[in-house]
C-alpha cells in the first residue's frame, strides 16, 4: 500500500479545473518532486492533501485513511506536515518557540495541568524543548545557540525557510510536503538545502514530496518526478524520463508554430 494515494482527485475553482481527475501515489521512503508550469495545480494539490481546502470529488488516502473531510490539525496528527511557498512563520515568537509549536500535536498538555504545573507537565515541557532543539540542530549552527531566543522576524530569508522546515520536522511527520523549499535562495544555499533534503529522508526517515522549480534540485534529490499541467498528470518517472518527455517540454515551452523550423 502506498503511503499517500489520490484517486480521481478533482478541485474546481469557478470554471477552472485546478486539479482534474488526478491519480498519483507516493511510496514510503520516497522523495517525489512535483513539477509543472505556473498554475499547473501543484500548490492546490498540497492544499488539498494538508486539508486547507476540500476537494470536489475523489479520494486522498493516507495509510489507507481517507483524508477528505478532515480538519488540517487532524491531518497533521495522522502524520503529514508541510511548509509554505510564502513562508508562514510565527513572526513574533522566538526560533525555539516556533519549533516548540511543532510539537503541539504530539503532546497532551491541557490547561489544567499547565496551571498546576504538575511534574508530568514539566517533564513534557522539557521533552518538547529537547525535540524542538533536535529539529533545529539539523541545520547545523544556523538556528541554534544565540538564535534560539531571537524572534523569527529578524532571521534572514534563507533561515526563515530553514526554520519552517525545522518546525515541520518537529511535528514528527511521516510525510513531509515542501512547497518550493529553495525559492529565493542563492545557488550555494540551494545546493546545501538539496543535500539536506536527501539527509532528511536518509537520517530522519521522512517520506518527502516537494514542489520545485529549480531543476538542479529536482535532479539532485528526486527518486521520481511527477509533472502536472492544467491539474492533470502529464508525465511521471525518473528525472531523465520526465525531462525528455515531449509533453513536458511542450507544457513548459509550447509547441512549435510551424513544423520543421
Amino acid at each position: 500500500m502506498p503511503l499517500l494515494e489520490t484517486q480521481g482527485l478533482t478541485k474546481v475553482f469557478g470554471g477552472l479545473h485546478a486539479i482534474d481527475d488526478l491519480d498519483l501515489h507516493i511510496e514510503e521512503g520516497e522523495i517525489v518532486s512535483v513539477i509543472g508550469p505556473n498554475g499547473a495545480g501543484k500548490t492546490t494539490f498540497f492544499n488539498l492533501v494538508s486539508g486547507m481546502i476540500q476537494p470536489d470529488s475523489g479520494k486522498i488516502l493516507f495509510e489507507g485513511i481517507d483524508l477528505v473531510g478532515l480538519a488540517p490539525h487532524q491531518i497533521l496528527e495522522l502524520g503529514i506536515a508541510r511548509t509554505f511557498q510564502n513562508v508562514r512563520l510565527f513572526q513574533n515568537m522566538t526560533v525555539l518557540e516556533n519549533a516548540m509549536v511543532g510539537q503541539h500535536a504530539r503532546t497532551r498538555s491541557g490547561p489544567i495541568r499547565a496551571i498546576l504545573r504538575t511534574p508530568g507537565f514539566r517533564a513534557e515541557e522539557e521533552a518538547i524543548r529537547r525535540k524542538a532543539e533536535e529539529a533545529l540542530a539539523f541545520f547545523g549552527t544556523r538556528l541554534i545557540g544565540y538564535r534560539l531566543e531571537q524572534p523569527a522576524f529578524v532571521l534572514s530569508y534563507a533561515n526563515r525557510r530553514r526554520l519552517e522546515i525545522a518546525r515541520a520536522m518537529a511535528t514528527e511527520p511521516k510525510l513531509l510536503l515542501l512547497d518550493e523549499p529553495t525559492a529565493g535562495m542563492n545557488p550555494r544555499e540551494t545546493l546545501e538545502l538539496t543535500e539536506l533534503i536527501a539527509r532528511l529522508r536518509d537520517e530522519k526517515g521522512f517520506t518527502i514530496c516537494l514542489i520545485e522549480h529549480d531543476m538542479r534540485v529536482v535532479r539532485g534529490v528526486s527518486d521520481r518526478v511527477i509533472c502536472l499541467d492544467y491539474g492533470r498528470k502529464i508525465a511521471e518517472g525518473t528525472y531523465h524520463e520526465v525531462a525528455t518527455n515531449e509533453r513536458v517540454i511542450e507544457a513548459y515551452l509550447g509547441t512549435k508554430a510551424v513544423e520543421g523550423v
Binding site: 486539508g51 486547507m52 496528527e77 513574533n92 498538555s109 495541568r113 504545573r117 518538547i128
Partner: protein
C-alpha cells in the same frame, strides 16, 4: 546577560530564576505587606499630598489588574478583540447578586461565589467566543459589542425584578473561620470578622490578584500559550501545525472571561453597591488604556496599566488643589475631562516613544541594573 547560566531545562522553566530575583520577590512581598500600614499612619504630608486616598486607588488597581491582564491575554496574545469585557464584570456582579450575600441573593459564602463566578465566566466566555470562529478583527469587535448591552439589560432585569431601582447592595464577606487564628486577623467592634474598609480588603485582594495573575502566566507559558500566540501570528500555519484553532480560541475566551468575571465579583463586593447604571461602554476604553500604557502582550503590563490608571488621577487631584492653580477655576470645573485628556496624551506618548509600555520601561530598568556598570 546576567552572568548566570542556565544549565538544564528545569532551571529554565522556573519563574524566579536567579538569586537577585528571589531577593526581589521577598523584598516585594515585605513591601506589599508594609504598604497598608504605611497608609494608615495618621499625619498630614506637606503641600496636602494625598495619603489616605492611595488605599482605595491601590485596591481598585489590584482588582482591575486581573481584568487588564485578561484583556491582554485575549487581545495581546491571542489576537482576538472583544468588546464583551465589561459584560463579564457585569456577569460577576450578577453572580454575586444572585448567589452571594447581597440584597436579594441566596446568601452563599463569598468564598464559594468567587470561584463559581470563574466557572460561570468560563462557560459564558466560551459561548461569547463562538463568533470568533467565523469572524475576526473589526467584525468580532462588533459581534461582541452586542454582548455588552445584553449583559446590562440582564442586570437591569434582575435588579428591577428583585431589588428595585436603588441597585443591588453587597454585604461585606467574612474571613473564613479556619483563618481566625492568624495573628493579624482580629475581630471588629462587633466581634465579627467582616472584610470591609480598604485596609482589610487589601489583604484579601493581594493574594487573589496574585493567584489570578499566576494562573494566566502559567497558561501562557505552556503549549496552550504558545498556541494562543501562534493563532495571533498566523492562524493558517497554526492549524497546519496541529493546533485546533477553534478549541484554542474558545479556551482563550474562557480563560480571559473567567478572570474578568472573578474581578467582577471582587469589584461588586468591594464597592458594595452596583446598579444597571454602574456599567458604561467606557469600561472597555479604560481597559484599553490600561493595556496600551501598561504594555501590550505582557501580563505585568496589565498590572502596570491598572496602577497607572488608578493612581495618576489621585496625583492629578492633588495637583489641581495646589494653591498655584487656585486662580484657574476651569481646572476645578473640568477636572475629570482634563484627566481624560492627560490619559490621551499618555497613550500617544507611549505609542510614539515606548510601544512596549510601562512593562518595557520595567524591563529596561532591570537590564540597566543587571548589566551595571556597562551599558549593554
Amino acid at each position: 546577560m546576567s552572568g548566570k547560566y542556565v544549565n538544564d531545562y528545569r532551571q529554565d522553566l522556573r519563574l524566579f530564576r536567579t538569586t537577585p530575583k528571589k531577593v526581589l520577590l521577598v523584598v516585594g512581598l515585605l513591601a506589599a505587606i508594609a504598604l497598608p500600614y504605611l497608609i494608615q499612619i495618621q499625619w498630614t504630608p506637606p503641600f496636602g499630598f494625598p495619603w489616605k486616598a492611595w488605599a482605595k486607588a491601590i485596591n481598585l488597581a489590584l482588582i482591575w489588574s486581573i481584568g487588564a491582564a485578561a484583556f491582554n491575554l485575549l487581545l495581546g496574545y491571542t489576537g482576538q478583540i472583544s468588546t464583551a469585557h465589561a459584560a463579564f464584570l457585569i456577569l460577576g456582579a450578577l453572580t454575586g447578586a444572585v448567589l452571594g450575600e447581597a440584597s436579594a441573593g441566596l446568601g452563599w459564602s463569598f468564598w464559594l461565589v468567587l470561584p463559581l463566578g470563574g466557572v460561570v465566566g468560563a462557560v459564558i466566555g466560551a459561548l461569547v467566543g463562538l463568533p470568533a470562529l467565523r469572524v475576526r478583527g473589526l467584525y468580532l469587535f462588533m459581534a461582541t459589542l452586542a454582548v455588552h448591552f445584553a449583559a446590562i439589560l440582564g442586570f437591569k432585569m434582575y435588579q428591577v425584578a428583585q431589588v428595585g431601582f436603588t441597585g443591588v447592595r453587597y454585604f461585606p464577606p467574612e474571613v473564613p473561620s479556619f483563618l481566625h487564628w492568624l495573628p493579624f486577623v482580629t475581630p471588629d467592634a462587633n466581634g465579627q470578622f467582616l472584610i470591609q474598609g480598604d485596609f482589610r480588603w487589601y489583604f484579601v485582594l493581594v493574594p487573589i490578584t496574585l493567584g489570578c495573575l499566576l494562573f494566566m502566566v502559567n497558561v501562557l507559558r505552556s503549549a496552550e500559550g504558545r498556541a494562543f500566540v501562534a493563532i495571533r501570528d498566523n492562524d493558517v500555519a497554526a492549524s497546519l501545525l496541529g493546533i485546533n484553532v477553534a478549541r484554542t480560541k474558545l479556551l482563550a475566551f474562557a480563560v480571559s472571561s473567567a478572570m474578568v468575571t472573578i474581578s467582577g465579583v471582587l469589584l461588586s463586593f468591594f464597592v458594595t453597591a452596583r446598579s444597571d447604571e454602574s456599567w458604561s461602554i467606557e469600561i472597555i476604553l479604560d481597559v484599553a488604556i490600561m493595556t496600551v500604557v501598561g504594555g501590550f502582550s505582557t501580563i505585568v503590563g496589565g498590572v502596570f496599566g491598572a496602577f497607572f490608571f488608578f493612581m495618576t488621577p489621585v496625583l492629578f487631584n492633588w495637583i489641581r488643589d495646589l494653591p498655584l492653580f487656585d486662580r484657574f477655576t476651569f481646572i476645578d470645573t473640568y477636572g475629570s475631562q482634563i484627566d481624560l485628556a492627560i490619559f490621551g496624551v499618555a497613550i500617544v506618548l507611549v505609542l510614539v516613544f515606548k510601544p512596549e509600555g510601562l512593562a518595557g520601561v520595567w524591563e529596561d530598568t532591570k537590564r540597566y541594573f543587571r548589566t551595571w556598570p556597562f551599558r549593554y
